[in-house]
């Protein structure tokens, strides 16, 4: 039980009044910057990291943790209230969260997101402390062929966001896949679909596409609706906080989201997006009222938000045990560690136990601080929606372009924002779902790269794809996800609950 003593010591250090103040400042700053659409936690941390350099290691670590969690929560807040996801991992949150906010349930949506983040963060932190070495061995054993199988599983879950028509859903997905081709191909170094424009060589930024499709497309289609859409958003209907029903419906999604997020986040190429897709699809399958999905189901916020946060803690597993920075945020964290002469690697836990446990304790405290700070503010946040529409949408566009410019000050990027915004409008106008476009952009390149890596390593022998037990298990799960409802129907003669939203 040495671990717990070390963790306890870390918590005691982090709880000193001065350090709590740093955590507070970090959470505030992180939320303020993270709320900008297009600026996710990685960029937030990169921008604010210099502020922490001036403090002593303990104070700086805890402020850093605060900024990190603040940045993540800021992204979710923007997703839920303004439908402008700040980062790729909170795109799924926008789907149900914004529907809830428009129905006057923004308060419960923000609350389930904050509490879910806390629950997932806490469980994942304990997981990090107890099982990190075991988890990392399994995670490392994932080869490209296994990741490819994981991508296939993620693809099968996209259909959960398809809406009423398969043709339309697939069309959206393929538009996203085509956009994913843009830029330099990692394996061959060849430019694809770039037409000689240098700004396209790096491909389409996921956040630019998401902000354009969601925020700008939405603004255009609301403006086009003119008087037709003269409904006033009521910021609060019913309780501003979660009621009993909300609690009951949030618990399991939190736990399932954590169970998906932590291990996938710990995989070197797992990422935080895939667990959010999987969690959304899973909750939609398991939900007793599947017709609420697409209209503001709290499970669709609770699960993916927990998955997102658990994945963020999962990323620390390879970082702290092996020194592998497997995400942009982790890479910046690594830069942060190096400020204190700390070199994450296999020896970190033995050579610098104080700082490691201090960091874990800091994450814990920052997460708690976020909850304490933000729950009382939920009422204030949802008031944003009471701003008259001309100003609200004017402000949304100001912040959407600010976030895009801040991440990449280029006029071409703003041009893309405009073009994809028009695409978002057309998709909405003709009843095409938005989310599969973004999912295609994320999963397309990932799956292509993993498949090509696997086949390059095997020198072109496709058998390699079906040799590993991990890959076979994942394929079996995909098949179950695709054909499960059909089998259910054949056996029982009833339609599976998931079919309920098909017209």
């Amino acid at each position: 039980m040495e671990t717990f003593a070390a963790l306890g010591h870390g918590v005691v250090v982090a709880l000193q009044p001065m350090n709590l103040l740093f955590a507070f400042a970090g959470v505030m700053l992180g939320t303020a910057v993270g709320v900008l659409p297009g600026i996710g936690p990685a960029l937030t941390v990169a921008l604010l990291l210099p502020i922490t350099f001036k403090l002593d290691p303990a104070g700086s670590l805890i402020m850093f943790a605060g900024i990190y969690y603040g940045g993540m929560y800021g992204g979710s807040t923007a997703s839920i209230l303004l439908n402008t996801p700040g980062e790729s991992a909170s795109i799924v949150t926008a789907l149900e969260g914004n529907k809830m906010a428009r129905a006057g349930r923004g308060g419960p949506a923000l609350a389930t997101s904050a509490i879910g983040s806390f629950v997932a963060g806490t469980i994942a932190t304990i997981g990090l402390a107890l099982v990190a070495p075991t988890v990392v061995d399994v995670a490392i054993s994932f080869g490209p062929e296994d990741y490819f199988a994981l991508m296939i599983l993620a693809f099968t879950t996209v259909s959960a966001a398809f809406g009423s028509s398969v043709t339309r859903g697939l069309t959206s997905l393929f538009i996203g896949l085509a956009l994913g081709l843009v830029g330099i191909d990692l394996q061959s170094g060849q430019a694809r679909l770039s037409f000689g424009i240098p700004d396209l060589l790096d491909g389409v930024e996921v956040t630019t596409l998401a902000v354009a499709l969601f925020a700008i497309g939405e603004t255009l289609s609301v403006a086009a609706a003119g008087l037709r859409a003269e409904e006033v958003i009521e910021p609060v209907k019913g309780s501003v906080f979660m009621n009993r029903e909300d609690w009951r419906r949030s618990w399991w999604p939190w736990l399932r989201g954590t169970a998906l997020g932590f291990p996938i986040g710990a995989m070197p190429a797992g990422g935080a997006e895939i667990p959010t897709f999987l969690s959304y699809a899973l909750e939609k399958r398991l939900c007793r009222k599947p017709d609420e999905f697409g209209n503001g189901a709290i499970e669709g916020v609770a699960g993916p938000e927990a998955a997102n946060n658990a994945a963020a803690a999962g990323v620390l597993v390879p970082l702290l045990t092996l020194g592998l920075p497997t995400s942009a945020t982790a890479a910046i964290m690594l830069a942060g560690f190096q400020q204190y002469g700390l070199n994450p690697g296999p020896l970190l836990f033995t050579s610098n136990p104080d700082l490691v446990w201090g960091l874990i304790a800091s994450l814990f405290i920052a997460n708690g601080m976020l909850l304490v700070l933000n729950l009382p503010l939920v009422g204030l946040w949802v008031r944003l929606l009471a701003i008259p529409r001309p100003w609200l949408y004017g402000g949304i566009l100001v912040f959407a372009t600010l976030g895009t410019l801040g991440a990449n000050p280029s006029l071409v990027e703003l041009g893309m924002l405009l073009i994809f915004g028009l695409l978002g409008y057309v998709l909405r106008r003709y009843d095409y779902p938005i989310a599969p476009v973004v999912v295609g952009l994320i999963l397309g390149p990932l799956s292509e790269q993993q498949l090509r890596r696997a086949l390059a390593i095997s020198v072109g022998d496709p058998i390699v794809l079906f040799q590993s037990p991990i890959a076979l298990t994942l394929y079996a799960l995909s098949a179950l996800a695709l054909f499960g409802p059909l089998i259910f129907y054949l056996i029982t003669g009833h339609r599976a609950p998931v079919g309920a939203d098909e017209d």
Partner: protein
């Protein structure tokens, strides 16, 4: 057409008339042609911190223009900051390759090189239980069947890929047959090496250092001219009979079209920075090696690197 319009707009955006053409440098704006957080950005921000902290230059601003291996920032810099004695750009060896593979209309010939600041060397690593014990074993395996040796490294056409190509070429193996697997992040490629998914890994030494010290990886060789102080027992490629030497350096350059006096003033400013205690502390803290090289020596080295890189990229099949 699009090019011209965009170029003109950017030129208009950035052609700020900074008057003072005196020898004294009291204002600098450093462009980091990368997103915040990366190596070039860190270099630019480290310079900012030291130049201001040591009171060498009172006002230093850093601006990020990410994209396409730094070539987007470089194009903007060349077009917009022409003749501006307060403008600097951070860059590095990666840019040399990116200019060639991206067919960038702007090249490093168009900027005024000031100095090389820091650099890292490439290293080859295998998992601890790999049958390859030395560089000689690797050479033998490559000669037997280059396709059976998979290399994990950064993006295609980058420093890692170039080094792998140079090694193949040096031992008389067809560089286009190198089975190079590109990974997007250091963590991902390291994981594939540790997991034994690939035969060897190639990256900068600092990426492998911690793993090697922990005994999880074995280093076969490094790309420096002499053995490195941080890895004394790792032979250089040359010692193992592979005639390859490469440094992944970072440099600072000034705008095109500045006068010799203005260039001298910038040279002096950077020299003052490199010699300051603040810069030494910064390098130590970041773990960067000081490979400062200025003036004609640097320009000569740069020209040599450009020629060699062009040749090898052509051999790998990434440039025409």
């Amino acid at each position: 057409m699009k090019h011209i319009v965009r170029g003109a707009l950017l030129a208009a955006a950035l052609a700020l008339p900074f008057g003072a053409a005196s020898a004294q440098v009291d204002e600098l704006k450093i462009m980091a042609p990368a997103a915040p957080g990366g190596g070039w950005d860190q270099t630019a921000r480290a310079m900012q911190q030291v130049l201001q902290g040591e009171k060498i230059v009172s006002n230093v601003q850093v601006m990020n223009v990410p994209g396409a291996g730094g070539t987007i920032g470089l194009a903007q810099f060349v077009n917009a900051d022409k003749g501006d004695p307060s403008a600097l750009i951070v860059g590095g060896y990666v840019m040399v390759g990116a200019i060639i593979t991206n067919k960038s209309p702007v090249t490093l010939d168009q900027v005024t090189p000031i100095a090389r600041l820091t650099g890292e060397y490439e290293a080859i690593a295998v998992p601890a239980d790999s049958p390859l014990k030395s560089m000689e074993d690797l050479v033998a395996a490559l000669k037997a069947n280059p396709q059976k040796v998979s290399w994990a490294g950064g993006s295609a056409g980058g420093t890692d890929h170039i080094t792998a190509g140079l090694i193949a070429k040096a031992i008389g193996v067809d560089p286009t047959k190198v089975n190079y697997i590109a990974f997007s992040g250091g963590g991902e490629s390291l994981a594939s090496i540790l997991g034994g998914k690939v035969t060897v890994g190639i990256s900068s030494l600092s990426e492998f250092d911690a793993q090697a010290k922990a005994g999880k990886l074995r280093l076969l060789g490094v790309s420096s001219a002499e053995r490195l102080p941080e890895a004394k027992d790792v032979p250089t490629f040359k010692e193992s009979g592979v005639d390859v030497e490469i440094q992944n350096w970072r440099m600072v350059a000034a705008a095109p079209g500045i006068s010799p006096e203005q260039k001298k003033a910038l040279n002096d400013t950077i020299a003052k920075m490199v010699n300051s205690q603040g810069w030494k502390d910064m390098l130590a803290q970041k773990g960067w090696a000081n490979t400062y090289l200025a003036g004609a020596d640097f320009e000569e080295q740069l020209a040599k690197d450009i020629t060699a890189t062009k040749a090898i990229l052509k051999d790998i099949g990434l440039a025409q």
